[in-house]
């Protein structure tokens, strides 16, 4: 394609340019909260459609995102689509689900910025820390912050390291099955760098196998 293009496509562009530009334009929060946004949410029936819908929402807060942020936003969109949408949580239905004031994960994604690859490489060089280890640490921080945001708290440190096997600071399945699922989905989706370290016991989340690992 390029210079040589089917005239039918050109006719399509002329006749549907408004619709095309609506697709391309980063629709703002106002649109997502509007009737059209609600209808669009209802139309998104399959998981890929939902992921795309929520990804569009999260991108609309910052249209100029780097690679790391785009990856993070897509992961968050997936978490919302797979485990939040349609639940009995107050923010599980439209319009609360798209509102950053009501949906804590949208609120978190709106503010959070990931360290991009070049920043991590620079830090790795400056502080003489292995690049993969630093990537892992950055991921753990993101996961911990997301979990804290889900609780409406700033205290992310309680999710950084936990005593072995206890998962004591997370919600149990018996307590709240929906929240249990959301939390685990955050952990296993956002923390997937694949970095594996026997000291940390197991990837992707930093649950050490022994208390020694807590301080590593």
């Amino acid at each position: 394609m390029g210079f040589i293009m089917s005239p039918l496509k050109l006719l399509q562009v002329i006749s549907t340019s408004a619709e095309i530009n609506r697709k391309l334009d980063g629709k703002g929060l106002k649109w997502y909260l509007s009737k059209e946004g609600g209808e669009s949410h209802a139309k998104a029936k399959t998981l890929p459609q939902k992921v795309e819908y929520f990804y569009g929402l999260l991108r609309s807060f910052n249209s100029d995102v780097g690679i790391a942020d785009a990856k993070f936003l897509q992961s968050m969109a997936y978490v919302i689509a797979a485990t939040v949408d349609g639940t009995s949580k107050p923010y599980g239905v439209w319009p609360a689900i798209v509102d950053p004031e009501q949906n804590p994960l949208v609120g978190f994604a709106k503010e959070h910025r990931s360290a991009d690859i070049s920043t991590v490489m620079k830090m790795s060089k400056e502080h003489d820390i292995d690049y993969m280890e630093l990537t892992y640490d950055v991921e753990q921080l993101t996961v911990a912050r997301a979990l804290a945001a889900l609780r409406g708290s700033d205290d992310y440190e309680m999710f950084m390291y936990t005593t072995p096997g206890a998962y004591e600071n997370l919600t149990s399945e018996e307590e709240d099955p929906e929240l249990f699922l959301i939390e685990r989905c955050i952990i296993f989706t956002l923390g997937d760098s694949g970095y594996y370290d026997s000291d940390n016991g197991v990837g992707p989340y930093n649950f050490g196998l022994s208390e020694d690992d807590e301080n590593e």
């Binding site: 210079f3 890929p48 795309e52 096997g165 998962y167 989905c185 997937d192 990837g203 196998l209 022994s210």
Partner: protein, 340 residues
Amino acid sequence: MMRMSNANLIEQLRELSAVKRRMLQNFDEKNEIKEAQQEELNESIETYLEKKENFKEKKAEALSELVPSVNPLATDKLPSCDVKEVKPVSAIFGLVFYATFILFVLSTFGISFPMWMAFIIVPGLLVSGVMWLLKNGEISKYFEWEQQRNDWHKKYASVTVSREEMARQYANFEKKFAKTAMEFKEFEAVENSKLEMKREAISAPYKERIEELNALLEADYAEIQRIGLVHDDYLHLLDKIIEYLETGRADDLKEALNLAIEESQKMENEAARREEAYRQEQILREQARQNMLHNQEMERMEQKRAEDARVHAAQMEAHARAQAEETKKLRRELERQGRS
């Protein structure tokens, strides 16, 4: 302090010195035993740590196979478009270009058009061609993105997620993790107690001797306190104090002590002064070395400059000679042309 005859004083000080020496010997022996025990234990400690690591690694590897996999919808990048707007006028340029192009081709095959059309076709072709060349990119990018997006949706159209299945996988992993952590704790407890037994086995033969030495050290210390005369902080000056009293440099204990402190201070100052002098000497040496290197570099650069100047002068001379030769040639040619 009661004054006593110097002879008595010296005798008491000698006794104190002997107790101090004995105490140091016992202390050294105790340290040696402890070091030997530690060395013997080090190998066991290394083995213990290695076993722990291997156990953790093995268990963690098995556990990592149960880690729920991430859905590709979260990781396979959603296509994004660089273009934010597509203007219909760009497509119009495209259509006009194609239309005028077709008419132009037809006209070259002999098909005639009304005059007014002929005046439109060529300029229309040129203008729309240029505009289309400039504007076709945004439309191409849009369609490319559309295609990629459709492909992405097609690829994952059948992907669904069962929340029950997800919950089951997560719960399963956590149960296994908790079990593994418990197993590790038990393993650690067993290995710790083995290490402790080894530690006791190593220290057992020396236990009695260590206790003896501890008792001796306590007794020696009590003896030192009983004798008194010199504060604990100055026990290291005892030999000097005795020497000053014996040689008559000091008349009493206080004087001898002050003298010893003074001498000791002087020696420390002297040592510090010598160290400082050595440091200064090193600095000066380094400075001299740097100066020498700098001078060498300057010399080298000067030589290079002179060489470059010579080369340049030679080039200028050669150029001037060539110019002169060329001028002569031209003059001869002009003369020849003038004659003919």
